[in-house]
């Protein structure tokens, strides 16, 4: 269902290639939309697949775009890495029109991408995938000791937190002083 192609800008996306449709094609022609991430690679996704994302579904529900208009106006998600968006699009396509089974085998496996994936899924409001991702995060510390949890979840110690807080206060103080000086300069 999805296809990608390196695009140069969100305003003029290159023609994406389309994967073959499934055998049971719907009678009513399906509408497609286009999304791209930080890497500008445009993904063609069916409206059915995009329904998983409450954010995108909300955006497209009242647009009534024609195929041409949709192609010309891909949704830009500049805060999401291209490979992460690819994972999300793949998942949405795999689960188009059906609920996620409790033990979903078609889920992204790349642990190193989990942090970015969680943030992206949370941003795109894909509830089922978010639940799965959060479960993955929670499972990371199953049966671990506090010290191991600290490492796995990169939790700063109290001393590190205090130092960071002091640093932040210092920085805020400096910025405030800078602003005051600038304001005084402007007044002169």
């Amino acid at each position: 269902m999805s296809s990608t192609e390196q695009g140069t800008s969100s305003a003029a996306p290159a023609e994406p290639t389309t994967a073959p449709e499934s055998a049971a094609a719907p009678e009513v022609p399906e509408s497609f939309y286009y999304v791209h991430g930080k890497d500008k690679v445009v993904h063609k996704v069916s409206a059915g697949a995009l329904q998983h994302s409450a954010l995108i579904h909300g955006m497209i529900s009242n647009l009534g775009y024609t195929e041409e208009q949709a192609k010309a106006n891909p949704f830009p998600f500049e805060n999401i890495d291209g490979d992460i968006l690819q994972m999300v699009v793949d998942w949405c396509n795999q689960h188009k029109g059906k609920p996620t089974p409790p033990e979903d085998t078609n889920l992204p496996k790349q642990k190193e991408k989990l942090f970015d994936l969680v943030l992206a899924v949370n941003y795109l409001e894909i509830k089922e995938l978010l639940t799965y991702c959060c479960k993955q995060v929670a499972m990371m510390v199953k049966g671990k000791s506090p010290e191991e949890i600290r490492e796995i979840w990169m939790i700063p110690t109290d001393a590190e937190d205090e130092a960071a807080e002091k640093e932040a206060k210092k920085r805020a103080g400096k910025e405030a002083a800078g602003e005051t000086a600038a304001a005084a300069g402007d007044a002169k």
Binding site: K111, E112, L114, F115, V118, L119, N122, L130, T131, C134, K135, V137, A138, M140, V141, K142, G143, K144, S145, P146, I149, R150, E151, I152, W153, M154, I155, P156, T157, D158, D161
Partner: protein
């Protein structure tokens, strides 16, 4: 592959914490103060907690079963039970286990357990704060460390946490010389169902109990004087090793007889070597007893309290009480206040001992026919 969890947005953190079990959250709370504060983002469950400090022994719970009262903290909600136990060996610390079958009626579905470095008030207070607990089902401690107790009291009082049962376990008297300092803190706690004090105090101080849970049991109650009894608003009071005298008890009954006094009182039991046959209680010289079948307060099929061979006494407003004072080597007073809603009176019939609800009418003929037949089966020919 590590993940910077605390960089997640707050709602996302909450979503992750919702999927962690209490043991993971407890361990997480030990990582830093910041993580401890964050755990509540996962939402608040109606966790209840029981804490048994001190030595392990068998106790009788709710008049039903023997329960192994271990040194442990139990956290539970609905059918989920999480037990924090002391690790036998350092290498066992933080090992968790699922036990499929409960070891008593309290854990019928099995439970999860975790081995902890220590089972102490620090762990208990950590769990109270981490899980935002508002009900302590049972707190059993001893008076050996005032500092620890004071810390936990600050949390319990400051957050007005309901403590259903509070039990002070006995420690060596010489180790609790500052017991007098505990009472003002206990008096500020919201103890609702039961206060039990097994501790023997030093006699040189005055101790004042100003909290009135439903039930009070004091094992060494010499300090619980008549003024405290007269001002008490509890439903059931048991005082062992008391120093109350006939005169004190007479004073108590003079007050009880007046309408509107002791509205909650249902049962009083006092064991005192000062009870004698020298002065009257309600114009009766002890021993005060009369051949009479047993009378019981019941909660459904469970017997709450009972009294046999008691003399009937009546309050000015018509409320009936049953009093018995026995002398001998272990002089003891029993007093039960009847209430038609839950009090049963036994009687001797031809078919043996039977019981009925006091003065409680019942529309028998509204029973279905087969039920009526079942009732009539138990009636003897004279009754029929």
């Amino acid at each position: 592959m590590p993940i910077a969890l605390l960089k997640f947005p707050t709602d996302l953190l909450g979503d992750v914490f919702k999927l962690c079990d209490p043991f993971e959250l407890y361990k997480l709370s030990k990582c830093s103060k910041r993580t401890q504060r964050s755990i509540m983002l996962g939402g608040r469950k109606n966790w209840k907690i029981r804490f048994n400090a001190g030595s392990s022994k068998k106790v009788y719970v709710n008049g039903l079963h023997y329960n192994y009262d271990k040194n442990e903290v139990v956290l539970y909600v609905d059918n989920l039970i999480y037990i924090f136990e002391k690790a036998a060996k350092p290498e066992d610390v933080f090992i968790t286990e699922h036990v499929g079958r409960g070891r008593n009626h309290f854990q019928p579905e099995g439970y999860m357990s975790i081995q902890c470095p220590d089972i102490d008030l620090e762990l208990f207070s950590n769990l109270l704060v981490t899980f935002g607990i508002s009900i302590v089902d049972r707190l059993k401690i001893d008076f050996r460390s005032f500092e620890s107790f004071s810390n936990i009291a600050d949390i319990l009082i400051g957050r007005n946490i309901e403590i259903k049962e509070f039990c002070v376990e006995e420690a060596e008297t010489r180790k609790v010389i500052d017991a007098v300092n505990y009472m003002p803190l206990i008096n500020q706690m919201n103890i609702t169902q039961r206060f039990e004090c097994q501790q023997r105090f030093l006699r040189r101080y005055n101790y004042q109990l100003d909290t009135f849970p439903n039930k009070i049991i004091i094992n060494w109650s010499f300090w619980f004087n008549i003024d405290q009894l007269l001002n008490n608003r509890s439903a059931r009071i048991k005082l062992w090793e008391s120093k109350l005298s006939n005169q004190d008890i007479n004073m108590f009954f003079e007050k009880w007889k007046k309408a509107g006094t002791f509205p909650n009182l249902r049962y009083l039991e006092i064991d005192s070597i000062k009870f004698d046959n020298k002065s009257p209680i309600l114009e009766m010289i002890p021993p005060i007893e009369q051949k009479r079948p047993r009378i019981e307060i019941r909660d459904g099929r469970n017997v709450i309290e009972g009294i046999t061979d008691a003399v009937q006494v009546t309050k000015d407003d018509g409320t009936v009480g049953y009093l018995r004072v026995e002398l001998g080597t272990n002089p003891r007073l029993y007093f039960l206040v009847a209430n038609p809603a839950d009090t049963v009176r036994y009687r001797h019939g031809r078919s043996g001992m039977t019981c009925d609800l006091l003065q409680m009418p019942i529309a028998l003929l509204k029973f279905p026919t087969d039920l009526l037949r079942d009732v009539f089966k138990f009636c003897d020919p004279f009754e029929l």
